[in-house]
Symmetry: D2
């Protein structure tokens, strides 16, 4: 899986001159979208099937500030997962420094009801399992 890159925009920086902390949550979403695309299960494809993926929780740990024009390299990996929930882990670097680490927990929902990923999106479930068994996740 390739690394996702985000270049910090002017409008993402705040009065302190640094990337506003809320934007890392958006960068995590961008990286997650890209990761699911790489797995072959993009948001657009999933939504076209009538399934949406609400976020259950997020967490960000800010290590170093970044600013306008900095390139943030985001490595995404799968954390804990079950038949109904799965977690993404994020490591965000600028150059050789870890600037932020994050986590997000997700489920899938159809017509307002939680669905079992293994049944409703079996291909995605298999891809998550395979990804999790990959050597770089051990």
């Amino acid at each position: 899986m390739h690394t996702y890159h985000h270049e910090v925009r002017y409008y993402e920086c705040d009065r302190m001159g640094i990337t506003h902390h809320s934007n890392y949550v958006r960068i995590m979403e961008e990286a997650r979208v890209d990761y699911l695309d790489q797995l072959g299960y993009g948001f657009d494809k999933i939504e076209a099937e009538g399934v949406v993926s609400p976020v259950i929780s997020i967490e960000c740990n800010y290590k170093h500030p970044t600013t306008f024009k900095d390139i943030i390299d985001v490595n995404v990996s799968i954390g804990k997962f079950s038949e109904v929930k799965f977690e993404f882990l994020y490591e965000m670097r600028h150059g050789d420094k870890v600037v932020c680490t994050g986590k997000s927990l997700h489920c899938f929902s159809e017509n307002g009801h939680i669905v079992a990923i293994s049944k409703r999106l079996p291909g995605l479930y298999a891809a998550i399992c395979a990804q999790n068994d990959a050597p770089n996740n051990q």
Copy 2:
């Protein structure tokens, strides 16, 4: 019609320490939502009928910067309008200074097709006409 108030948020300010110019477009939307509510035709009510209101164009003229915690008072009025399009005019003040003026042009659309406001939303059309005839609009 009452004036709409927006207090500038920390995250709305940029590296120059001032309200990022893109946010005035959002403040104009907030004020427009409030104005339509006052006319009795809120976005939510219109959308519940299956009608959406795309923006055709916008314009902002920035006169003075504002910053964190400034209260922006927005006066909305109806500009030019026809059976299919209508324009909102915005005057944004902070204290006794005009900080920004704006315009937005809108139509209504249902299932991807432009609708005649006078036919599809006759009550709103009447309200717009009445508003436009009001003494403060002359």
Copy 3:
């Protein structure tokens, strides 16, 4: 301390029709700004002294979606704190439902160096201690 209120904006809702999850992080900031104002130590006052308050970490647990025009009532309280770090806890409700709970951890910094709150901002430190001793925090 009074409750902070945020009305969900049109532009804060996403393709699923619900408040985008990143916006709760911004609502938490708004509520925190208001809370510090109530303590007499607003961001603007602190920044005017040359001190900034970076966010060390945040966490959000999404319980129920909210949407356009929903009023979110935010109760802020002080969590753990020391001489250099302090935590805010957030309970966000819409009507009688808890829609989101959150946490944020902060420090204060001057010229790039962490400062001891008890020394650099002794009044704020006393206010935090007093708040934490208040009956509703036990």
Copy 4:
């Protein structure tokens, strides 16, 4: 000068499922930043000299909606300019469709005072003049 590309993010789409109109103002800023970089006068370089570039006015004409994952190609060119103000013109396309056209008017300011571009940033002024004389601008 190369074309700037923006891929529409999930969080940039609204309840109608389309890119929220305020985001085009941000996309125009991204494209302008890139254009000034190409001229050798990036925002960061200019700000490092103590000069900031406030926006005087903006205008957007929305032609077609775009949505999540659409690539917006932005062509920037110089419009009218004088010694103190200059205008950027934007044509935004998705595939072979023009989705939005825009304009923005700017000046440069130092310590709160407008500066003559030709004197304070003569290299940039020369670059703007040269760009404007280029065949594709006639």
